[in-house]
C-alpha cells in the first residue's frame, strides 16, 4: 500500500502527458489582450475615475445633507411664518380691543348722559318742578340744587301761585321770540342787580344766584331763565318786605 506522500505524487505518465501539452493562444488573442492593456494603461478611464469619484461622493454627501435638512428648514420657515403671522392677528385683536374700548367708552358716555338726563326728570316728576328740557343736561346741575329749588319755589310761591305757573309752564308754550324779547326788556345791569346776592340771603338763594350767574349764558332755556328771573325778583321783593323764615338748617 502506498504512503500518503506517494499517493500525492503524480505518476510519471501523467506528468509527461501534462508537460507535453504545448498549445498556445493565437496571435489574435495576444494582440487583443495587449491592445486592451495598453489602452487601459494610458486611457482616461482610470485617472478619470479617480478624479470624479471624490466629486461624486461630495455631491452625494451634499445631496444627503440637503434632503435630510430640507424638511427641518421647511418646518422652521413654517414656524417663522407662523410667528410672523401672529403679530397680524394680535394687531387685529388689538384693533378689536380698541374698537371695543371705544364702544365701551361710548356706552359709558351714553349711560352717564342718560343718567344725568333722567335725574332731573326724576326730581321734577315728584311734584311741581317742570319737565326739564334735554338741553339742561349739559348744565350739570346737582340734584341738591333741584331739590332746594323746588322747595324754594313751593315755599316762596305758595301764596302767590307762581310755582303752579312755573310748574305748568312748558318750554314749548313760550316761543323763543317771546322769551328773547323778555330777556331783552331788561338790561344787563338790571339782571345783574337782580341776581346780585345780598347779605341777608340764605344758602338757597345763594345757590340760585350762583347757578344763574354761571349758567344763564350757557344755553339755559328761556322759560327757565324767565322763571328764575321772576323768582329772584319776587324773592327780592319779599326780602325787602319781611325777613324770610329760617326753616332750613344753618
Amino acid at each position: 500500500m502506498n504512503s500518503p506522500e506517494q499517493d500525492e505524487q503524480l505518476p510519471v505518465q501523467v506528468r509527461r502527458a501534462l508537460a507535453a501539452e504545448t498549445e498556445a493562444p493565437s496571435n489574435q488573442t495576444d494582440q487583443n489582450i495587449l491592445r486592451f492593456a495598453a489602452a487601459r494603461a494610458a486611457g482616461p478611464h482610470t485617472p478619470a475615475r479617480k478624479t470624479w469619484m471624490p466629486a461624486a461622493a461630495a455631491c452625494c454627501l451634499v445631496g444627503v445633507l440637503t434632503f435630510s435638512l430640507l424638511p427641518e428648514q421647511l418646518a422652521e420657515s413654517e414656524k417663522s411664518m407662523d410667528v410672523d403671522i401672529q403679530p397680524a392677528k394680535s394687531s387685529k385683536s388689538e384693533h378689536e380691543v380698541i374698537t371695543q374700548n371705544e364702544h365701551k367708552h361710548a356706552d359709558t358716555l351714553r349711560a352717564e348722559t342718560e343718567a344725568v338726563s333722567t335725574a332731573p326728570k326724576a326730581y321734577y316728576s315728584a311734584g311741581a318742578a317742570p319737565a326739564a328740557p334735554a338741553t339742561i343736561n349739559h348744565l350739570q346741575l346737582t340734584p341738591k340744587f333741584f331739590e332746594r329749588l323746588t322747595a324754594l319755589n313751593e315755599q316762596e310761591n305758595s301764596a302767590n301761585g307762581i310755582s303752579a305757573g312755573i310748574a305748568q309752564a312748558k318750554p314749548d308754550s313760550l316761543t323763543a321770540q317771546t322769551s328773547r324779547k323778555r330777556v331783552q326788556a331788561g338790561t344787563e345791569s338790571d339782571l345783574s342787580s337782580l341776581l346780585r346776592p345780598k347779605e341777608n340771603q340764605n344758602d338757597d338763594h345763594m345757590l340760585v344766584y350762583e347757578a344763574l350767574r354761571n349758567e344763564c349764558d350757557c344755553g339755559l332755556p328761556d322759560s327757565l331763565q324767565q322763571a328764575l328771573h321772576m323768582l329772584a325778583k319776587q324773592q327780592i321783593q319779599s326780602d325787602n318786605s319781611e325777613p324770610p323764615s329760617r326753616d332750613y338748617p344753618q
Binding site: 501523467v14 486592451f36 487601459r40
Partner: protein, 186 residues
C-alpha cells in the same frame, strides 16, 4: 531596453508599474504567464474552442481590475485565482467535460484514419483522457500541482483549505494510478 530591464523584475513590481501606466511592464508579465495559464485552462477541462475565450476573459479581468491588486499577494496566485474563477463559471455554464472526453476519444489512435503515432503520444493522449474524466476540482488540483504550485498556493487559488487540496490530490492520483494500471493490464 525597457522590456529587458522589466524581465529582471518580479511579477509584483511589474504589476505595480502597470498600475502606474507602464504598458511595457504588462507585456513582460503577459509573456511570462501566457502559456502556463493557457495550458491550465486547456488541461482543466475546457474545450479547445472555449479555451481562448476563457484565456482572454481572464486577462481582461486582470487588466480591468489592475487597481485592486495589492502587492502583498503573489501576482501568480492572483492571476490563477482569476483564471480559476473563469473556469468555474465555464464549468457551471457548459459542462463540456464530457464532450471534451468524447473529442479526446475521437482522436484515439484507433480512429486516426490509420495514421501511426509515436507510443509516447498515444500514452499522453490516454493519460489526458483519464485526467479529463476526473472531477473538476481534482483535475484542477492535479493541473496546478503539475505547474509547480504548492498545496497552500493551490488552496489560495481555489479558495479552499490546504487539507481539502491535499485530499483532492490524493484521490486524483489514486484514480489515475488505477486507470493507468487498468490500461496497462489491457
Amino acid at each position: 531596453m525597457t522590456n529587458y530591464l522589466h524581465r529582471l523584475r518580479a511579477d509584483e513590481s511589474l504589476m505595480m508599474a502597470y498600475q502606474r501606466g507602464d504598458a511595457s511592464a504588462f507585456e513582460v508579465l503577459y509573456s511570462r504567464h501566457r502559456l502556463p495559464v493557457f495550458a491550465f485552462l486547456r488541461r482543466s477541462g475546457a474545450a479547445a474552442d472555449n479555451v481562448e475565450p476563457l484565456f482572454q476573459e481572464a486577462w481582461m479581468a486582470i487588466i480591468r481590475n489592475k487597481d485592486s491588486y495589492q502587492p502583498s499577494a503573489s501576482f501568480k496566485t492572483y492571476l490563477y485565482q482569476v483564471a480559476h474563477r473563469k473556469l468555474i463559471d465555464y464549468w457551471r455554464k457548459h459542462r463540456e467535460r464530457d464532450e471534451l472526453a468524447e473529442d479526446t476519444a475521437d482522436t484515439s489512435p484507433d480512429q486516426d484514419n490509420g495514421l501511426s503515432r509515436p507510443e509516447a503520444d498515444l500514452l499522453n493522449a490516454q493519460v489526458m483522457r483519464f485526467i479529463q474524466q476526473l472531477p473538476d476540482e481534482q483535475r484542477c488540483a492535479i493541473v496546478l500541482r503539475q505547474q509547480g504550485f504548492s498545496q497552500h498556493e493551490i488552496a489560495d487559488i481555489t479558495n479552499v483549505g490546504a487539507e481539502t487540496v491535499k485530499s483532492r490530490l490524493r484521490y486524483a492520483t489514486k484514480s489515475l494510478r488505477n486507470a493507468l494500471a487498468g490500461a496497462h493490464h489491457e
